[in-house]
Structure formats: structure tokens, C-alpha cells
């Protein structure tokens, strides 16, 4: 059951928390910027 845990697509040396951009337990790539909902100023909600 051993796995090289550095191959699961998580940047384990990151100084930032990983969970902010943790896309899915089934994905080996993190969220893209446009995937992360963010509390932007209401003026930015243009559409």
C-alpha cells in the first residue's frame, strides 16, 4: 500500500496552506485561480 506521496499533485513544501486550493481528493492538480470563490468587493460583481 506504499505510495510516493510527493506524486499526488500536492505541493508539500508550500509555505501556504494547501486546502485553500485543494480542488478534489480525486484530482492531482490544485484549483486554478478562477475556481476559487473569493469575497470580492460588491462593485466587482458586474455581470
Amino acid at each position: 500500500l506504499g505510495t510516493d506521496l510527493t506524486t499526488l499533485g500536492l505541493n508539500l513544501n508550500s509555505n501556504e496552506n494547501l486546502y485553500h486550493s485543494f480542488l478534489s481528493p480525486f484530482s492531482d492538480s490544485p484549483c486554478r485561480l478562477q475556481d476559487i470563490d473569493f469575497p470580492v468587493p460588491t462593485e466587482y460583481i458586474i455581470n
Binding site: S21, S27, D35, F38, E43, Y44, I46
Partner: protein, 148 residues
């Protein structure tokens, strides 16, 4: 060292049902707010295309190197996300200012002719999202109450 255990009937059932679920895995978009203007659509691009964003793509320095149109695209098409927020920060760093009434980004074309506590007036470049183009505007009054 403990060896195998015989799976119970229920565990074998679980395994069979899991096999079925394995064919209907969740899509990343199932757990994301609907993106009306840029929905996530999985497309199998050729393997030699970059499959993940470049390293450092989520840093302000990286965004400041992008050309303005890219930042405007991120700002207007990725609403309510970290991309929009960072794009706005990068634009400000590149001395653009967001006008909250026209909802457009303005940049001084030259030193304004008039500057008071309430407004400044002069020639500006602005990005018109409806025409998706940058235009120049002479004699424009930028009221500070609309400065974000």
C-alpha cells in the same frame, strides 16, 4: 502479518456498488458555484499542451507581467473568484483605477489638468468592456466618490 479476511456479504455488496459509482465520478464543477460566463468544460487537449497552470501563476508578481487585456479578461470573465481579485490588484499596481459607476478601468494618459478634493479632470485611457477595447477620453472628470 494478519493475513486476509473473508469479505462479508455486505462488504462484497459495497464493493459492487462502489464499482458502479466509479463510473459516475463527481465532476469538479459539481462542487463549484456555476460560472455563467466561463463554465468549466473538460476538453482533452493534446498531451504536449500544458496541463497545469505555470508555477507561481497565483502570485501578484506573475499577474503583473501579463498584458492588460489578459488581466481585463480575468477581471470581467472570472467574477467572484480569486482570479478576479488578483487581476484587480495587478491592474491597480499597474496604475489603473476602477470606476465603480462605469465599472471600467481608467488610467491617467497624462497629469490631470485639475485636481481637487472631490475630483480630477484630464485625459485618460479606459478599457471599454462592451467594445473590448482601450479608448482615450479627453476632458474626463473622475469623481473620487467613484474611485474604488
Amino acid at each position: 502479518p494478519l493475513g486476509k479476511t473473508v469479505l462479508t456479504k455486505e462488504q462484497n455488496q459495497h464493493l459492487a456498488i462502489l464499482e458502479g459509482a466509479y463510473k459516475k465520478l463527481p465532476h469538479p464543477s459539481d462542487t463549484e458555484r456555476s460560472r455563467n460566463y466561463l463554465p468549466r468544460i473538460a476538453v482533452n487537449t493534446p498531451a504536449h499542451y500544458p496541463q497545469v497552470p505555470p508555477v507561481g501563476h497565483d502570485s501578484l508578481d506573475f499577474l503583473c507581467k501579463l498584458n492588460c487585456d489578459t488581466l481585463f479578461f480575468m477581471f470581467y470573465y472570472m467574477e467572484g473568484t480569486k482570479a478576479q481579485f488578483l487581476a484587480a490588484q495587478a491592474l491597480k499596481k499597474l496604475s489603473w483605477r476602477f470606476h465603480t459607476r462605469y465599472m471600467m478601468w481608467f488610467q491617467r494618459y497624462e497629469e490631470p489638468k485639475v485636481i481637487t478634493d472631490e475630483y480630477e479632470m484630464g485625459t485618460y485611457v479606459y478599457f471599454d468592456y462592451s467594445k473590448w477595447a482601450q479608448n482615450r477620453k479627453d476632458g474626463f472628470t473622475f469623481e473620487y466618490k467613484y474611485l474604488e
